[in-house]
Amino acid sequence: MAPLNPYTYIQCPCSDSASLGRPSDPTSPASADGDEEDNTFDPRAPRANFSLYPLEYLLYCEDCHQIRCPRCIAEEIATYFCPSCLFEVPSSNLKSEGNRCTRSCFQCPICIGPLSVTSIEMPPSDPNLLAPDRAATPHTTYSLICSYCNWSSTEIGIQFDKPNSIHAQLAKIRNGGASRLTAKERKERRKELSHRGGEAAAAAASEAAAGQDVDLETQFANLKLFYTSQLADPNAGDTGFSSLGDLGFSSPSSLSRIMNLYTGGKLHDPRAKSKLGAMREAVTADEGLLEADLDESSLIAQLHQSDFLDTASSTQICSQPPNLGEPHLHGAVRFNSSLRPVPYLLRTKRSKRCPACRHIVSKPEAKVLTTRFRIRLVAGSYIPSISIRRLNLPGPNGPAAPAILGDLLEPLKPVHFVLTFKNPIFESLKVTLGAPAKTPGRFPSKVTVLCPQFDIDANTDVWDEALKDNDRESSSRSRRRAGTESQFQVEVGKIWERGRNWVSIIVEIVPASLKLEAGQDALREDEDVLEIPMFVRIEWEVENGGEDAASGPGRDKDQQEKRELAYWCVLGLGRIKQG
């Protein structure tokens, strides 16, 4: 069992309205909102996982005074770039050329290692030729090679003539080395044909060509062309797709259409009939109709011949980009030989805004290579952090054993944890904690927060603290627990320890026993982890300086505004020993 470090998760208040943990009740979708506040938050509810975040993932809007999690933030894209070549991609390219790097950056389809372009030494036809001559020959070809697993694009029969713009070259090559026409070329060829010969000849030729290898891209283009021409037909009227929308038979168009279907148009004006029948089906491959090839015996034979490891795993297939060059969909990628190099997905740098007030919460430098941020309001500098430490008190029989991280908790034996709250802001905080007496779930552990209400001093300058240190030492407020034994007493309602901007309190836990009763399901994953939900409410006062209520050391304390923030957090304390 992996050792468990104590952790803290914070539930973003934005998911409150989504009424967590409510049993499915389709009849009353919004009725239970009223009593939602009384319910304790159950960290084990499956929905809870979607709203819990470590403190580091959270941002904070200074104007709304709210925590902003990745779910409740508006994003804007600063830069698009390729993670491999780090080239910035203009946003206009994205729409036309897709979401992948169109230069020469590829990932290995077998592992995910980066592929590099390597030249292939052609076997010298004449051994007497000198090396420089050979290098000068135009027959040098290139392949993509993975330096991690030694995969080479020659394995799928793909070689390149040029070492650059591999993406464009790859688009024209099928696995096995056969070339394919890109959409543009196909269109040009079609145009050429129609220019040269008569219409019928062109149609026949392109149909023959299309029938050979209609890949997805071509079929889509053909269909699009076909539908556009059908819809553009002036006779077509509205009967194109409009029947998609009306389900009822009440509309005149569907009525007349039905009449037309069953009467064969004899009762109607022939003109009307031709109008209604205008949008027809695609009939030829040129129009996008493709008959299925159901005979897969050759593929079965190939599967029969090949080893298990010759087939592509489902993760490999999933990481393949949608390949428009494949002739059909079914079982298209099955063997390793049909995998293709994966062009790198582009990435983005995003700046984030508060969705409510539109203020920027996080803004990275636009340059790809810098990792700095211009603006970054992380929640960690606004709300207190909580760190957890296990407290081992010296028992009656000897001194305390040092608490080891990941130590299992003994069931039904009280343990103490020190929670240290650290105040990051320049005002003193008033913290109120609330925790259910018993943790929710099948194995309730008893929880007692010994000091649920306390103040934390402001995060003043460190040097202030150092200068004042002498006074502080004598004052009774700071209780340093150096070595005096009498202070090893856990007292209810008392702060355990306090420093410049932090306060430690004690939580007493009686872990539940994980013994399963008869008829109970087995332990689920992580059910042995002791997690306690805790409601944290912090209050602080800032001077109300009008709009910009920025926190700063106060000059005039005449206008004080009270602020509060409340949220649920989950403290993971440790694993309970299983009986």
């Binding site: 556009t228 929308g245 109709l289 493709l290 079982g331 582009l346 983005t348």
Partner: protein, 588 residues
């Protein structure tokens, strides 16, 4: 100095220009689209988070297709989706939980320690929804959709979070509560001004270039056979034989060949206990990689069709399926397994790998009468759905069979189903009545006159009276129905028909066609600005929810149609209307 100053001025002036052009670029690119003329009359979306920028982002429409196990997303007009996100257990983990990346999870320690009983637990985390709404946490479905969509938007779409119009391609059998959960999640989390709904069978039909079709969706949860006639779903039949069964049968097969000490509990037989010895991921992987389907063996079964006694059928049928000698030399396949107790390699005969698909989709060793309605073998399911169709619809649908869904990738399965259905049609014709009595009656020439009225099981009586002719026309292969008889010589009509519909519609013969897929079909529909089944406005949804939808029949189609012809664009058919529908999903 002045030169320097002007130089600096020249250097700084391009900057605002560039930024302006950057901002405007999506707008200008939209102008080239044929869609922009309509944008002028489009109402301003008054979302709570409205900003000027939200107007421009509206230009591109996102199409997302939700399936049981994956979400596909892309822009309208693209040939295929830009990204596919599978629903996996790692999505259920908290943010910042990097357990999946630890070395331990690679060997599935996690899986080994977990004891899994019951199919539900085994597959649950890999699915988006369970159609049984009774014990489903709808909020969880919303969360899952949200998380997957967020991942897709960030990773594949690379777009910002400005509100965009969306179109959802959904299976038409989706229960209303789930549809409402999905819409809730989308509307509250992504703020699209409108969401259009499209049913996947219709989108598939459009993606194949036809107007009518028989969609055989070999899906994950179930196999759904939907007949689409003139872009409208007219009939649906379903069977629980789907991908999930296939993976389970694969597990069963692997477990059978697993050495006894690899199983977690000794002494139990594999078939009886609901325990799983291998992880879902591994079985799923093997099912997609190695499982194949035997070709349809028509020759040994064909003579028996003339015997005409179903009871004899089954006894005979069980023999050839077992005694059928493999055409290829039997070969052992080595399959490495990771998720059992210790990594091992098992050897299976190659033939055995066809068993899972055999058991899942055909179960041909059992008699037809032993199946419940919800678990019909697929050939029978397809045949029955064809049988239920009215005559002319059937004629069109049977020559436009579209196989789709994840299990269509099982090698040989499509051909097998197609072959068996053809054989069933050949054997029985379009007569829903089978059995001894029916055969006797058919043989009896005296009763022949009455037969038409008795055979009216499959369709409406008016049509079924023709079913005798339907059986007869199979031989000549030409379908004579009312729609085609109108080709009389009428000069006016001929003139009008010139350049149109010269080629007669293919009908009456079995034919399978390829579709680009539901997503691509939806992309076409959206690109061509056709009216979707229903379009829901954000405000209306947030205010009323699913209860605000009016019944599809109640909506005044005339006004909707008139509007759809107007400048507003066809995509928002019911926009100005106060009434909106949920289409097929809101019918019940």
């Amino acid at each position: 100095m002045s030169g320097l100053g002007s130089g600096a001025g020249a250097g700084t002036t391009p900057l605002p220009h560039r930024s302006v052009s950057n901002i405007r670029s999506p707008h200008t690119s939209g102008n080239t689209n044929p869609s922009t003329p309509s944008s002028s009359s489009r109402p301003v979306p008054s979302s709570t988070f409205a900003s000027p920028s939200s107007l421009r982002a509206e230009e591109d429409l996102l199409i997302l297709e939700l399936g049981s196990r994956k979400l596909q997303i892309g822009f309208a007009g693209d040939a295929c989706p830009r990204g596919t996100v599978w629903f996996t257990p790692s999505q259920l983990r908290r943010v910042g939980d990097f357990r999946d990346w630890s070395s331990e999870s690679k060997t599935n320690v996690d899986w080994k320690t977990r004891k899994v009983t019951g199919e539900k637990w085994w597959t649950r985390d890999h699915e988006l929804w369970e159609y049984d709404v009774r014990e489903v946490d709808l909020g969880l479905i919303g969360d899952k959709v949200e998380k997957a969509l967020r991942e897709a938007l960030t990773k594949y779409m690379l777009i910002d979070s400005r509100p965009r119009r969306m179109a959802c391609v959904l299976p038409s059998g989706l229960p209303l509560p789930m549809l409402s959960a999905v819409l809730d999640s989308l509307f509250t989390r992504f703020q699209p001004p409108t969401i259009s709904l499209l049913s996947s069978p219709v989108a598939l039909t459009v993606g194949a270039g036809v107007r009518s079709s028989l969609i055989v969706d070999l899906g994950w949860r179930e196999t759904v056979v939907t007949s689409v006639y003139e872009f409208r779903e007219v009939n649906t039949n379903r069977s629980v034989r789907g991908g999930r069964w296939l993976v389970e049968q694969t597990h069963k097969l692997l477990a059978k060949h697993l050495p006894e000490n690899q199983k977690k509990k000794e002494g139990t037989t594999t078939q009886d206990t609901g325990d799983y010895y291998l992880s879902f991921e591994e079985c799923n992987d093997i099912a997609t990689r190695m499982v194949w389907c035997k070709a349809h063996l028509s020759s040994p079964k064909a003579p028996k069709s003339k015997a005409g006694l179903p009871t004899l059928h089954e006894q005979d049928e069980s023999d050839p399926s077992e005694a059928e000698s493999p055409i290829e030399p039997s070969k052992m396949v080595k399959i490495p397994l990771q998720s059992c107790r210790s990594p091992t390699t098992i050897e299976l005969p190659w033939e055995a790998l066809a068993e899972p698909s055999e058991n899942t989709f055909f179960d041909s060793q059992y008699s037809e009468s032993s199946f419940d309605d919800h678990e019909l073998p697929l050939p029978l399911l397809v045949y029955r759905s064809l049988l239920q169709l009215p005559l002319d619809v059937r004629a069109l649908c049977m020559s436009r069979i579209i196989f789709t869904g994840g299990c269509a990738n099982v090698l040989g399965l499509r051909g097998r189903i197609f072959g068996e259905v053809s054989k069933l049609v050949e054997e029985r014709g379009w007569d829903g009545v089978i059995g001894k009595g029916a055969d006797q009656m058919r043989a009896n020439p005296k009763l022949k006159g009455k037969k038409g009225s008795r055979a009216a099981v499959g369709g409406p009586t008016g049509v079924a009276s023709l079913s005798d002719a339907g059986g007869g026309q199979e031989q000549d292969g030409v379908w004579h129905d009312a729609a085609n008889t109108a080709h009389d010589a009428c000069p006016v009509e001929e003139q009008l028909a010139r350049g149109q519909d010269k080629t007669p519609r293919v009908q009456g013969k079995m034919r399978a066609i390829e579709s680009l897929g539901a997503w691509s079909g939806a992309s076409l529909i959206a690109h061509l600005k056709a009216a979707p089944v229903s379009t829901i406005e954000r405000e209306a949804w947030l205010q009323y929810g699913a209860a605000g939808a009016s019944k599809p029949s109640e909506v005044d189609q005339k006004s909707a149609a008139r509007q759809s012809l107007g400048a507003g664009g066809l995509m928002r058919g019911a926009a100005g209307n106060n009434s909106w529908t949920l289409g097929v999903w809101g019918v019940n």
